[in-house]
Symmetry: C2
């Protein structure tokens, strides 16, 4: 597995673009992105579990019934959700793009992100589509990742190269996600492209298995968005032997996919709204996988702990507290906690009780940008990892006045 | 029902005190409180559902098996939780107090609040108990409410007078609670006293019924504390006909109890860590009571909405979003949302979609100290209320460096 450049354009046959079409007032900010595969691709997606679902999700779900797609269009600046005509606008967007690209309308995946509850005007999208399509290029991944950003402060893209049955394959992805992020089936917007040849069924199986331990284990603020979606397009242009069952190639593909998703999870968490630190909580020794996950998620979701991490305060009692209300089946008298970062590591809790430690050393460890919180349960064999970020003044600032 | 002064000392036969004994370094801050009934009282309590439970809760639970108690002692500055000898310290505290008061050790209720995971030294408590007992007075309710404060900025106390079978009865309470507050069976520390004559069984029934719609509907930060407890002492000195079944007097008592608990819920929420505003979410028209509660709690718990309320930003999409992930069975296309305060009211959402409204008017409404969020479901007959507060810079500040 080699890390390479190119993001969503790294895989053969994919081009992308991103432009400012006018949904946002600020002309400096791109607001419309496109990813295109030169041949139809196997396609799969997972969606938010929020009952309030963005209209684009409903349209995409319908389009993906065929298990294939060829283009992804996504706007930022307006979530096209909780408004009167969201569905029509989402379908119209697909129709206009399909016509411009000369592909069937139901081969288009559509997504939107931004403020909820405001009408989305089709005019800037309609006007923008011709130049969006014209701008498609092998170097366009960067622009596409920019066009889906909302409060994100950095672009999030990654790609890897690997081999399947002697053929060089590539997989890459971009993500948007900064606030309204909470694990509950597919968080944030993520678009993944690969030139691997794989059936829609196996692609769907790979994605669903993967998100359970990746995107569903990320939380920025406990708010599960209305517009979350993770999609994968696999266009087969690497010409590997088509993956149609759970064989060795499938395992390799899963690993490649996981490299992309874990990278994006960490990127999303560390760019959480206002975040100054990435928190990674690793739970081991849990009775079941579900218990391990509950504990890991509970820890990274605790507002109190997140604020303490911002202040580099080793207030580990809040970790125990979060374990205790996680609803995991766990013996709290066996719990151990370590705090780690590249500055070192300290044990702060053993068998559910405090251990003497140097506050000075703890401060040094917690002043780093990436903090690992290790929780040992001593109850069994199961492990899990969750990602989150600290809670800062800037989270409040960003969200105190998001719409203006 | 008349509001009166006196807090926990309003009811006949109750005295209280609060002193600085030395658990806290800051001598200006009281850290030990006592409430005493001159006769043994029916007693009941509800406790946090956190698996990590403070040692004082375990001791109190054991002591209340008899259904009676006569004194409540509570320290602040240290939660006596997740340390090696918490249980012994809690029992020792009861033993010392019982000896000083001349009552049985298991008639003492003990509680602690403060930082988790640090050893609690018995010395300051041991030294403080004689003067704590000596200070007991009818005017001591105020001192007692001060001695249980942690990050609270205001004392929380209330009392009411009412009649039962021709006798004047009184009920009063104090509360502590500012952070680590989340609904999940008894949040925060609340001590309620009454001179009503009622059996322990009926007292317990009254308390458990009441907290389900009061303290379990308050959230400051989503963190369910390890040390939460609500207790009631009823010493019978009002000499009403003893309540031993669900009769009319029981209904009147429930109402009086509810007046105390709702007042304290609102007081706790508006004094949430860093809070500048009290949020009250009223849900109506839900299919079931459980659905109504899930929606109300989900709305007041949303970090995004809480930050928007801080910024007086009518970002109602976040309310819909929170309804959508509440796990309530609800038809999102029927939801309506009103924002209200003493400055006026506006409709912002009808049938799940946005309604045009004046941003200026919304700003004015949301700039008040108490905001009502009304969610109508149009699905049924059930209602619920939940209380919370806004999310502010100060919440982050307070919790970024709590221990130092």
């Amino acid at each position: 597995m080699i890390k390479i450049n190119g993001g969503v354009c790294a895989a053969k046959g994919f081009t992308a673009s991103g432009i400012h079409c006018g949904i946002r007032k600020n002309k400096e900010k791109k607001d419309l992105s496109l990813i295109f595969s030169e041949v139809p691709a196997s396609a799969s997606a997972v969606y938010t579990t929020n009952l309030v679902k963005g209209a684009p999700l409903t349209v995409t779900k319908k389009h993906l019934e065929s298990g294939k797609a060829q283009a992804i269009i996504c706007n930022s600046g307006n979530a096209n959700t909780c408004n009167a005509n969201g569905y029509e606008i989402a379908e119209k967007t697909c129709e206009l793009l399909a016509k411009e690209l000369g592909i069937p309308q139901d081969d288009v995946i559509v997504a939107s992100t931004g403020v909820i509850g405001q009408k989305l005007d089709i005019t800037p999208i309609e006007k923008g589509i011709p130049s969006l399509v014209k701008s498609l290029s092998k170097d366009g991944g960067d622009d596409a990742s920019e066009g889906i950003m909302t409060t994100d402060t950095v672009k999030k893209e990654i790609a890897f190269e690997f081999e399947l049955s002697g053929k060089t394959c590539r997989i890459g992805g971009i993500a948007k996600g900064s606030g309204m992020i909470h694990p509950d089936m597919a968080t944030m917007l993520v678009f993944i492209t690969t030139d691997v040849s794989i059936s829609p069924e196996m692609l769907s199986k790979a994605l669903k298995t993967d998100v359970a331990s990746t995107f569903n284990m990320v939380s920025v603020d406990g708010d599960t968005s209305t517009n979350d979606m993770v999609t994968v397009l696999a266009n087969g242009m690497a010409e590997n032997e088509k993956i149609a069952e759970e064989n060795e190639d499938f395992a390799i593909f899963m690993k490649a996919l996981n490299s992309v998703t874990v990278y994006l999870c960490r990127a999303i968490a560390s760019d959480g709204e206002g975040a100054t630190k990435l928190l990674e909580c690793t739970v081991s020794g849990a009775k079941t996988l579900s218990d391990a996950k509950k504990i890991a998620k509970s820890v990274v979701c605790s507002s109190l702990l997140k604020a303490a991490m911002f202040g580099a305060d080793a207030n580990w009692g809040r970790i125990l507290c979060a374990v205790g209300y996680s609803k995991a089946d766990v013996d709290v008298t066996k719990i151990g906690v370590f705090l780690k970062s590249k500055a070192g590591q300290i044990e702060v809790c053993r068998n559910g009780s405090g251990v003497d430690f140097s506050e000075e050393e703890a401060k040094k460890i917690l002043s780093e940008k990436e903090i690992d919180i290790e929780v040992t349960c001593g109850d069994g064999e199961y492990s899990s990892v969750a990602w989150g970020c600290d809670l800062t003044y800037d989270y409040v600032k960003i969200n105190g006045d998001y719409r203006t």
